[in-house]
Amino acid sequence: MSVVIETKNLNKIYEGARRRQDLHALKDLNLSIPAGEIFGYLGPNGSGKTTTIKMLLSLIFPTSGEIRILGSKDISSAKVKRSIGYLPEGAYYPDFLRGEEILEYYGKLYGLTGKDLKRRVDAVIDVVGMSHARNRLLRGYSKGMRQRIGLAQALISDPQILILDEPTTGLDPIARKEIRDILAQLRDQGKTLLISSHELLEVELISDRVGILFEGVLQTMGTLNELLTEREFSIEVTGATEAALSRLAEKGISVEDRVGDKLKLRVAEGHSSYEALELCRAENLNLHSVAPRRETLEELFVRVVGAAEAKRRQAA
């Protein structure tokens, strides 16, 4: 599969007034995103996600290292930019324009005119489900509708690559699901998506691969199957008393979820399933199921970032 976005030893230093005030925002970043993939780009605030995106879009310039988009080093060329759609986080779109006019404006910037422009505007408005509000002024749009128009402007040139910064932030669950479905559809059409987000559940649901960045260093990168381990398992039981639960907790078996009388117990890494079942039997619990438990992306994120933070503290 051909690589669409590639960075090699990419560094970015924001220069301060003095040398010791310099901020090394990105350190030797090596990314490789193949065509047709949804790549979740994660990291806490200030970790360097937006810096990376801005460099991919030539809004800022690398201190050292190399970026290749669609194999080209000239990433600010019109040819490369024509293949990229970008949705910035919290972008403003002028209130005095109608949804359709915004898309016409951005379409014209791609060189679209006449029938081609109209055809693309109709197509993207349809994709983001905004046909009913295309002639309404933006001041009458909800946050979700604005986000959809933002996504539509990113899609107006039918780009091969989509770079989305927090595409679902601030949206209600239904709007999130709809945006997620649109993104999955785009992936199915063969487009490559780079999604930077704090919404870990959303990213987990749609990403093929993720990378976690912390203080400018890529801490881990891989497919969700590679990264989300199954080192723990869970047991569903009923009939547990509080005293029994506290005794189990001392032995590393904690309550993860509770629905009425039914409890989902999480068995920490290091216990064998036989040992855990024996402990439950000793407490006279009614066993319903035993299943391997896959780590969530949120847990992976906390684990990776926590480890990196601890390492930094130790070094300091």
Partner: protein
């Protein structure tokens, strides 16, 4: 030809968008309404003059107020809009969506600058039209001198606009460029005094005196002289359909275009590697 059309299509689209957005800015609309009120109100104010005073006194007062209002409010609009279009787009992140499209930074700046010029021209046309109508209604002659005055006033605004725009490209807020724009305007209107400094220098024969004179001469020849674009005295004192005198209009236009190009190039040099 096709390459030129392709190159200009993006900037023109940005210019129209800038104009549409700019004409909705409350500060700008406020300045425009105020200037139109002053021009309109000058007719009313002239009625307070002593009826026994000179016959053309009333007309002189109207012309004086109107020309001053156009110069002041036009300049405020010029400085305000030139100082704010680029920093405002950096602030609200619209610039990210535009520059991530196949639009070069030079094209983006050209579009913004053309948009600013559209705003200035339209505001000047509105103010000038009202003044034109006021004069025509009183004298029933075509005030050609006024048309020349407005024409030259635009070119003085173009110079101020270009340099203010250049400063705005180096800034992240519109405050500093606005102050810089007003400073550029004041400097431009006072350039004529540098010639006085030069002609009076060297009389004592002291080195410092000569040096000051030389510096004044250099600055006089480098800085734009906005006073040359001002036909106010002629408009107030002479008949409205007289031709302008003491003004080499083609030369002034050429100089304004050279200064505007210099200002735009400065803006481009600042902006081409600016981190956004």
């Amino acid at each position: 030809m096709k390459a030129v059309v392709d190159y200009i299509r993006g900037p023109w689209c940005i210019a129209i968008y800038t104009w549409r957005e700019g004409m909705r800015k409350k500060t700008l609309v406020g300045f425009l309404i105020l200037s139109l009120l002053v021009i309109f109100g000058s007719n009313f104010m002239s009625s307070f003059l002593d009826p026994s005073s000179e016959t053309d006194m009333e007309l002189k007062l109207i012309k004086d107020i109107c020309v001053t209002a156009i110069a002041i409010f036009g300049m405020l609009i010029t400085v305000f809009i030139s100082a704010s279009v680029v920093p405002a787009e950096m602030d609200n992140k619209v610039i990210y969506t535009v520059l991530s499209k196949p639009v070069r930074r030079g094209q983006y700046l050209l579009g913004k600058f053309l948009g600013v010029q559209l705003i200035i021209l339209i505001n000047l046309a509105l103010m000038g039209s009202l003044f034109f109508l006021a004069l025509y209604a009183r004298q029933h002659v075509l005030p050609t001198l006024l048309l020349w005055s407005i024409f030259l006033t635009y070119f003085s605004f173009l110079i101020v606009s270009a340099f203010t725009f250049a400063v705005s490209c180096a800034s992240t807020s519109s405050v500093l460029p606005t102050i810089a724009g007003l400073f550029i305007y004041l400097t431009g209107t006072l350039t004529e005094y540098l010639n006085d400094v030069f002609t009076r220098s060297g009389q004592s024969g002291a080195f410092i005196d000569k040096l000051v004179g030389y510096m004044a001469w250099c600055l006089y020849n480098v800085l734009p002289n906005l006073a040359r674009y001002d036909l106010k005295t002629q408009i107030v004192d002479r008949a409205v359909n007289d031709p302008p005198t003491d003004a080499l209009i083609p030369w002034l236009v050429l100089m304004a275009l050279v200064y505007a190009l210099s200002g735009f190039l400065m803006a481009y040099i600042i902006f081409r590697r600016k981190e956004l």
